[in-house]
């Protein structure tokens, strides 16, 4: 009986609670909206300030003022027709590459050593060959040994001994000169195959040496 009597009260209370909840939610939403509007208002104020400052900058840096500075101090004038370029190519034609002393660079030619070249060969080698000395000894110098790497660098600072040392490392394509262009290598390959003493066509890095050597007469003595 009592429970039944309270039922309506509960109903009323729950309805009131629900209504309150709804109201709170709406209140919350309203306050959030108000905050948002406040932010929007701030944005508008900031925009107005920006506009004002832009106007001021625009007025201070007006074209007439720039013109006055230009005419009075900097004295710029309109570019003439010759100062305009057709594009990248025309620009490139105006830039001469710095003259490289390419001709004076030591050209180290592939050579067939007469005998003494064998001894020094393994000394600084970091190759993984077991007995490099023997390997080179057996069938006279072998193509790789005759290879020298030509470079554009002057031989003054570094002893060129390194060149022949690196040369034998045929197995790994050691990037002896990262600068060596592919085209050079390609032409070198062709020439190399023509040369009887040249290494296998697969040998890329050493091939460059033969390329440079191909046109010249063989030199025997390597710069030691």
């Amino acid at each position: 009986m009592s429970a039944h009597g309270f039922k309506s009260l509960f109903m009323a209370a729950s309805v009131a609670g629900a209504a309150l909840g709804c109201y709170l939610v709406s209140l919350n939403v309203a306050s959030e909206r108000a905050k948002l509007e406040q932010v929007e208002g701030k944005i508008v104020l900031a925009q107005r300030d920006i506009r004002l400052l832009q106007t001021e900058i625009g007025t201070r840096g007006r074209l007439a003022q720039l013109e006055r500075w230009n005419a009075g101090f900097i004295r710029l004038s309109a570019p003439t027709a010759d100062q305009f370029l057709e594009g990248g190519f025309q620009l490139a034609t105006m830039v001469k590459p710095a003259p490289k002393p390419a001709i004076e660079a030591p050209i180290v030619l592939a050579s067939a050593p007469t005998g003494q070249g064998v001894a020094r060969q393994p000394s600084t080698s970091d190759s993984d060959e077991a007995k490099p000395g023997a390997a080179t000894r057996t069938r006279a110098p072998s193509a790789q040994d005759m290879m020298h790497i030509a470079s554009y660098e002057r031989p003054t600072a570094k002893p060129t001994a390194i060149a022949p040392v690196k040369a034998p490392l045929l197995a790994k394509p050691v990037a002896v000169k990262p600068r060596s262009a592919k085209t050079v290598a390609a032409t070198a390959m062709k020439v190399a195959s023509a040369d009887s003493l040249a290494p296998l066509p697969a040998a890329k890095p050493p091939a460059k040496a033969t390329a440079l050597a191909s046109g010249k007469t063989r030199e025997t003595g390597t710069p030691q």
Binding site: L45, Q47, T55, R62, L63, T80
Partner: protein, 569 residues
């Protein structure tokens, strides 16, 4: 309710009473019910309103108008979006004489020190005046406002008012115009688009003009320099896109600062480019030749005309600056700007055809442009034979520089006249409706003729190397009283570039330039306005995307064979 009346039915007293009570009760119920319905209705109405407000209404703390930035008057920007006119909040200092509580004499002294444009006596007189309100200064600098505020006098009111500012000052002043104190346009674009600029719905969008401020600046600077160098009393210039009719730059000198338009002289406020009509002289010859070609009078550029020293027509003499004294071709007539030759072409053309052409090209009608400062052109009344001849070389007819620019645009864009416009042509503003005036072939042939004038003729100083300028010089004596003045001239140049594929027309005009040592004592257009064209074009052409190329040229093979001998220059 037709209840039985007591008189008709005789009933016992009790019954009567019961019947009465019931009736009364019924009436009461009805009234109660009605009252309740009204009450419920009112409550329901209030509840509905509250619910509506809760759902769609604004809350109490809402600030209206702050959430959007709509200026009091719309901005005016150039075609690249740079502001040319803006409304800002400026400080104003005002005086309420009856609210002053301090010592008036001291206050007057302090004001005279802070704002020296009036002396203390004036300030004191203002304070003792009967008027309730004075503006002391509008658009006051913040420093002055601060100092006035520091005086602490309640009779001094400091307020913010929307104020029109032209950040570029004199740039394009005659195009923009200016506003009055109440912020309504009284000249230029401000006047023409007053409705649009002050409309609350449209004013948040800036009004985009076809003017390019950099081009405008270049034109104004070069023209002003020439005007000063040759001591001219005025100048005007127009640069126009020939395909769309958009005016990229339009200026009138002397300069006007629209921020203080009232301080400018009437001469400065006058827009020479649209309101001033001038007899523009030889620049008209290009039209006469084009008319001749179009009408079939001129069969080829090599057609010969007798060019004596002077031509006598019904009592009037027509002479040349560089007389040929021999038969000359159309190419030579254009090259040396021969009045004698052009007069004969015009004569062959006749009044009717000439008038029809001039009508089609808009020279007989008021200017078609958005500005309200539009001039009516002047043309001969009876169009006699002499008139036809003089109109042929640009006298007896007075038009505005913008008319001339429009005409040259028509001549070079393939022969289609379009109205000039000061609004940027884009999606919202399409190109104006055109009408054909000249044939495409005539338009093409004129290229070489106009280029010839610049490469070998009177306009050689207008050439900007690489930009292929073509055009025509014009020097006209000003009308003085009943005749023409011998010392006052209007010189002008109408040019088109690049001539091998025309895109822009430039018209510059100097009003009464004086001869200087530099111009060899001449007052001819070739000496004073032509260099302006050269300088301006070499500045603006790169901005407009015209690539200089010394290898390109109009098809000069069409005209060069008809130049017979080097004339004495």
């Amino acid at each position: 309710m037709n209840a039985p009346t007591p008189g008709l039915v005789a009933q016992p007293e009790r019954l009567r009473l019961v019947g009465q009570r019931r009736r009364v009760l019924a009436v009461m119920h009805q009234r109660l019910m009605f009252g309740m319905l009204v009450y419920v209705g009112v409550i329901a109405l209030i509840a509905a309103r509250i619910l509506y407000l809760a759902a769609f209404g604004d809350h109490a703390g809402r600030k209206l108008g702050v959430t959007t930035l709509i200026p009091e008057r719309g901005d005016i920007v150039d075609r690249d979006g740079h502001a040319l006119a803006r409304t800002i909040d400026a400080w104003t200092i005002a005086l309420h004489p009856n609210k002053i509580i301090g010592n008036k004499l001291e206050l007057a002294r302090a004001l005279a020190r802070l704002m020296p444009e009036r002396d203390e006596a004036t300030y004191f007189a203002m304070m003792r005046a009967d008027k309730p309100f004075f503006y002391l200064r509008r658009r006051a600098a913040p420093g002055v406002v601060e100092a006035v505020n520091a005086l602490g006098e309640p009779g001094l009111a400091i307020d913010r008012e929307p104020d029109r500012l032209y950040p570029q000052t004199t740039l394009a002043a005659h195009v923009l115009g200016y506003t009055d104190v109440d912020g309504h346009g009284t000249a230029g674009i401000e006047r023409a688009f007053d409705q649009r600029l002050s409309d609350p719905a449209a004013r948040d969008e800036p009004l985009t003009l076809s003017i390019s401020s950099r081009v405008q600046q270049a034109l104004e600077h070069e023209l002003l320099a020439a005007m000063q160098k040759f001591s001219a009393i005025g100048a005007a210039g127009v640069i126009m896109d020939i395909h769309t009719g958009e005016v990229l730059a339009m200026t009138s000198l002397p300069q006007l600062n629209p921020n203080v338009a009232g301080a400018g002289s009437p001469e400065a406020r006058f827009n020479r480019a649209t309101s001033g009509v001038y007899e523009l002289g030889s620049t008209f010859k290009a039209f006469t030749v084009a008319m001749g070609m179009d009408a079939g009078v001129i069969k080829s550029v090599g057609q010969m005309y007798p060019c004596p020293r002077e031509l006598h027509v019904s009592g009037r003499k027509i002479g040349d600056t560089h007389p040929f004294n021999r038969p000359c071709s159309i190419a030579e007539i254009m090259q040396e700007s021969s009045n004698v030759g052009t007069a004969q072409i015009a004569d062959q053309l006749g009044a009717a055809r000439q008038k029809a052409f001039l009508k089609k090209i808009g020279f007989l009608d008021p200017l078609v442009v958005e500005l309200k400062e539009r001039a009516r052109t002047l043309s001969p009344r009876d169009w006699s034979r002499t008139d036809v001849m003089t109109v042929g070389f640009g006298h007896s007819i007075a038009i505005t520089p913008l008319h001339l620019a429009s005409g040259y645009a028509t001549l070079m864009n393939g022969g289609i006249w379009r109205p000039a416009t000061l609004l940027k042509v884009d999606r919202n503003h399409p190109v104006g409706k055109g009408r054909r005036v000249f044939s495409e072939e005539t338009s093409y042939k004129m290229r070489a003729l106009l280029r010839l004038v610049v490469t070998k003729g009177t306009g050689s100083k207008a050439d900007a190397p690489g930009y292929r300028v073509g055009g025509k010089t014009g020097t006209a004596d000003k009308v003085a009283g009943r005749g023409y003045s011998t010392s006052r001239v209007v010189t002008n140049f109408a040019g088109v570039f690049p001539i091998d594929e025309p895109r822009y027309v430039i018209v510059v005009m100097l009003d009464e330039p004086q001869a200087t040592a530099e111009s060899m004592g001449f007052r001819y257009a070739g000496w004073n306005v032509a260099p302006v064209v050269s300088k301006t074009v070499s500045r603006i052409a790169p901005m407009l995307g015209v690539r200089p190329d010394k290898k390109r040229e109009a098809n000069m093979a069409e005209v060069l064979p008809y130049i017979h001998e080097k004339s004495d220059k």
